[in-house]
């Protein structure tokens, strides 16, 4: 038995697991900033998209079109390599953020998730029944109150499943930030691979951690769905 435990402790996967685990905080840090920021901005963009101001709505529509039509990798490279090569950006205050791979990653991930999130929320907002808005209006709600008390709560809880999908895609997308030399889990796994020439062990260790992270995310979204859809619960 002890021999068996020793053999596990000496195995490459076990050692790699803890090495890769040390990159978990960097992955989570990326998510902790870009997901909340992306959520708020996506809501604002969705509201702009359905607004009656044509210019605003058109601008946001083309933004969404461009971001959804190009790979995230292009966006990350454009921000990290592309913007850094422009002289007046290098001389401006933006450079403090753009010289760090971490902030480039955060910016790219946020820009990406805002486009997808805005489209999801737009679907939610447009699927609200007219009668609900009308009843709010008849109660004398102002525009802001209507938004806060009726439109947003209903829209958000309706799109929770698809927004949950987007959140999981974002967890996976953080791995691309490793290509800008940022050392999160995938970056560390690749470094281990280069050191030990054992690709399978390194990447399986990282894969297990990503699966775990996504499992937590799924549970979190499920909890939110349960909490904010009390009318859909089977047994009270």
């Amino acid at each position: 038995m002890i021999e068996f435990l020793n053999s596990i402790q000496n195995s490459l996967i076990y050692k790699n697991f803890f090495l890769v685990l040390s990159g978990l905080d960097n992955t989570i840090l990326l998510l902790l900033i870009s997901l909340p920021l992306g959520f708020v901005l996506a809501l604002l963009f969705a509201l702009g998209r359905v607004s009656k101001i044509t210019l605003l709505s058109r601008t946001i529509a083309s933004y969404i079109f461009v971001i959804r039509g190009t790979p995230l990798l292009v966006q990350i490279y454009l921000i990290y390599f592309g913007l850094g090569s422009v002289k007046f950006i290098r001389e401006s205050f933006l450079w403090y953020a753009l010289k760090e791979p971490f902030w480039c990653g955060v910016i790219a991930l946020t820009i990406n998730t805002v486009a997808y999130g805005a489209e999801i929320f737009r679907g939610g907002i447009q699927s609200i029944e007219k009668s609900q808005v009308e009843s709010g209006l008849s109660l004398g709600f102002g525009k802001f109150l209507l938004l806060r008390k009726i439109i947003l709560p209903i829209a958000i809880r309706k799109v929770l499943p698809s927004y949950g999908n987007e959140l999981i895609l974002m967890v996976k997308a953080t791995s691309l930030v490793s290509l800008t030399t940022y050392m999160e889990m995938t970056g560390i796994a690749r470094k281990i691979m280069a050191k030990t020439f054992a690709p399978v062990e390194a990447f399986i260790a990282a894969g297990i951690l990503y699966l775990f992270l996504n499992f937590l995310m799924v549970q979190f979204v499920k909890y939110l769905e349960w909490k904010y859809n009390p009318h859909l619960r089977l047994n009270n």
């Binding site: 454009l78 953080t174 894969g207």
Partner: protein, 235 residues
């Protein structure tokens, strides 16, 4: 800032290189989408026949691949694929070093990823076929093959086209990750060019525009196909 003169065709610019790279992206996308659809059909089949073991394997495959970053899957297949192929070859008594070329690995890696998405789409559209249709086909004495080709396939295609269109867009964008393996597609080409010309902005924007064109045009194509296949369906 944006150097248009670097994008001309011929030796002075990178236009022809980018054209070839775009064709390579398209080739990888089409090949891996096709292979992915085949894998997806097998996966769906494994899920819908009443067999616990195949269903477990298929569920395990789709859950794991969809829960792990695409980049990790590509790394795993790119760096681990050769070892697997060689150990299989060893079983058959072939001991020499085998190296798969970049296109094969790229196609397999993207197909493995895209198959998980396609399989969900295909399964949903298979389940959308009403049972009565299958029973009617069986009552007419059709064998399994003609049921599959004459009853199931046409309807699955009709139901699945919008979803498959989405998977195609995802697959097309996922091919950008293949650049890490060294296959020269749009992304790799833009990195090579920007390293040579010291002008990343120009070539990355070019890459973005090329991807945008590809996704837009293929989106149109799928729209047309959808209209074509839903003839007789009042929409």
């Amino acid at each position: 800032m944006f150097k248009f003169d670097k994008l001309v065709f011929g030796d002075a610019g990178w236009g022809d290189e980018f054209l070839i790279a775009t064709l390579m992206t398209l080739l990888v996308s089409i090949l891996s989408m096709g292979l992915g659809l085949v894998l997806a059909i097998i996966t769906v089949w494994a899920k819908i026949i009443q067999n616990r073991i195949t269903r477990f394997i298929a569920n395990f495959y789709t859950t794991v691949i969809r829960g792990v970053p695409e980049l990790l899957v590509i790394y795993l297949i790119f760096f681990g694929g050769n070892a697997v192929v060689m150990s299989i070859a060893k079983v058959f008594g072939y001991n020499k070093y085998i190296e798969l070329n970049a296109l094969t690995i790229a196609t397999i890696a993207i197909a493995v990823i895209s198959a998980t998405y396609s399989s969900e789409v295909l399964r949903a559209s298979y389940l959308a076929i009403s049972k009565g249709q299958l029973e009617a086909a069986r009552a007419l004495g059709m064998n399994k093959f003609s049921i599959f080709f004459k009853v199931i396939s046409p309807q699955v295609i009709r139901h699945a086209l919008p979803g498959i269109g989405n998977v195609w867009q995802i697959t097309l964008k996922d091919t950008s990750l293949i650049s890490v393996t060294g296959l020269v597609e749009i992304m790799r080409q833009s990195r090579i060019s920007s390293n040579v010309e010291h002008s990343p902005l120009t070539f990355l924007i070019t890459a973005a525009i090329l991807y945008l064109c590809l996704t837009t045009i293929s989106g149109r194509v799928f729209k047309t196909l959808e209209v074509n296949y839903s003839k007789g369906f009042s929409t």
